[in-house]
Symmetry: C5
Amino acid sequence: MKIGIVDTNFARYDMARAAIRELRRGCSAQIERRTVPGVKDLPVAAKRLIELEGCDMVMALGMPGPQEIDKTCAHEASTGLIMAQLMTNTHIIEVFVHEDEAGDERELASLAEQRTREHAKNVIKLLYHPEELTREAGTGQREGFEDAGPLGR
Amino acid sequence: MKIGIVDTNFARYDMARAAIRELRRGCSAQIERRTVPGVKDLPVAAKRLIELEGCDMVMALGMPGPQEIDKTCAHEASTGLIMAQLMTNTHIIEVFVHEDEAGDERELASLAEQRTREHAKNVIKLLYHPEELTREAGTGQREGFEDAGPLGR
Amino acid sequence: MKIGIVDTNFARYDMARAAIRELRRGCSAQIERRTVPGVKDLPVAAKRLIELEGCDMVMALGMPGPQEIDKTCAHEASTGLIMAQLMTNTHIIEVFVHEDEAGDERELASLAEQRTREHAKNVIKLLYHPEELTREAGTGQREGFEDAGPLGR
Amino acid sequence: MKIGIVDTNFARYDMARAAIRELRRGCSAQIERRTVPGVKDLPVAAKRLIELEGCDMVMALGMPGPQEIDKTCAHEASTGLIMAQLMTNTHIIEVFVHEDEAGDERELASLAEQRTREHAKNVIKLLYHPEELTREAGTGQREGFEDAGPLGR
Amino acid sequence: MKIGIVDTNFARYDMARAAIRELRRGCSAQIERRTVPGVKDLPVAAKRLIELEGCDMVMALGMPGPQEIDKTCAHEASTGLIMAQLMTNTHIIEVFVHEDEAGDERELASLAEQRTREHAKNVIKLLYHPEELTREAGTGQREGFEDAGPLGR
């Protein structure tokens, strides 16, 4: 198995390091990493990892800024990441942490670390233990935050 | 016949269980289920069920959150689901229940159950009895809510 | 010639009946009809009519609801219909009547009837008399409403 | 050389006439014209002119209305026109004049005439004299309006 | 190596000149330049440089105006640039400078010069020294502005 990681130098936290640590802890897949300038460069970088480097799954890591234009960039990147998946029949797990999701820098760093790690676990489940994801279906998982949990009745 | 179901662990209700029950009641198709983290992972998962597992139709189940970013994610997922259908010439019936569509958690659970079941019936009609859908054309069907009905004159 | 019609059971008016009547009055093309649940199911249904049933043109009929989410669905459907046309090199004439385009139900029904009929005439022109459309170029046609007419000078 | 022109009967000004006059003045290319109902029909019509009629470049002319829904239609059409270009590796020069870009009908007609003519000149440059466009690079050209000019320093 | 540059005559600053200077300083790649009218013409121009001229990477330079319609055009262009990358498996580095990003014309010119140069450096890194980008991962690079830097803790 080979897992690709694409991240950006626009991000203010080294999310790839968090992803790699978690992946190494949970599986023995080979890891291939590429860094691009911003989130809009992620889709083609992820597709190249799949088609030119043979990756079986890719994590796309980004930290969009807080302004309107940043939200638009993130939306364009997400649309491209979905298209890249459809063109390759391969999952690309998007891990975006928006700069305005946390109150201060320390909290933001912690959120980025945590969300990336939890999504790295999702990648391992998708690749090796898909039945575990099905066991969690409908349980309100929230990567990086406390889970919302299943609806009370 | 083979029907695919993709759902998420982000959702707070096990919509797939509702879908499977209704499908089993109404037809004898084989059912193939996959669970992914969030709605943006649904398009490629649905396409894989069609192209790699031979599904004749897929249900894509999701429960987007109430915030602006969740609405954007749902929009991106829907766009991807339509693209996946166009690339495969195969229907993917999207069943999304937005968290802010109901007043409380109990009502939301009931809406999720009901809408999923009614869309499972749509799937059966599309696959086995398309003429029934044509009989209902223009009658204002609303899955999960009371039907709007045809326009009065 | 073969003309496809796709409509929905979400719509509150039987627009397909209006389309079929007008098409039968104006040409002798074969008509193939399919009904789907909502507007987001129209793109793949239209593409299937073109690629699997050999339709030379398709009418896609829908009646989006009045809420924000309905507007988003209509936008996603329209984007998909344009993509379906590009993938098939075939015109799909979209006829959408938004529930909030008219003051009451009777007016809305009348608008749906009229707009569908006028677009059915457009389909006949596109297929059989394209030069008639060119004669109308720049004249401010408005299907279902009074024409805006050419700009005064 | 063969240049395609697609316009609409929704537009309130015969922009194609302006385009054809300017093209005939500036080059000897063959011209192929098609008229469709609205701007959302332009992408496939342009693609057909390229792929079925052998056009080397296409002008897509439209006059979107002033309402919110018209803006959405224009956005969908533009997205489709870009996709059509990517699928054919051929330029489609979009010339849209929004009804609310001018104060009165006369001014709007004049804007439509002027912008179309200036874009027809762009088409000639792209096909025959690309080096002229490069000479104008960064000079703030504004088709139909006074040029913004290069930034002062 | 061959690097493509596409720019516009809509822009009010000759960003291509800045890009070419920086590229010539940092590498010996062949440079191929094309100029188009506006940002929506960039995607197909970039794809043509890749597929017809054999460029290994492309810079797409644009300066969207300050109005709502300009923002929409930029969004459509960005979406198209991402699609062009996915269709060619080749990076297209988008360098857009919005007219309202700076307080006056002089500042805007300086921003355009600086951002273009810094992105030209990114292109060189992507092509020749990808490991340098990985060293910068998560460090909050901001082309044309002061870097945001990594999150404090």
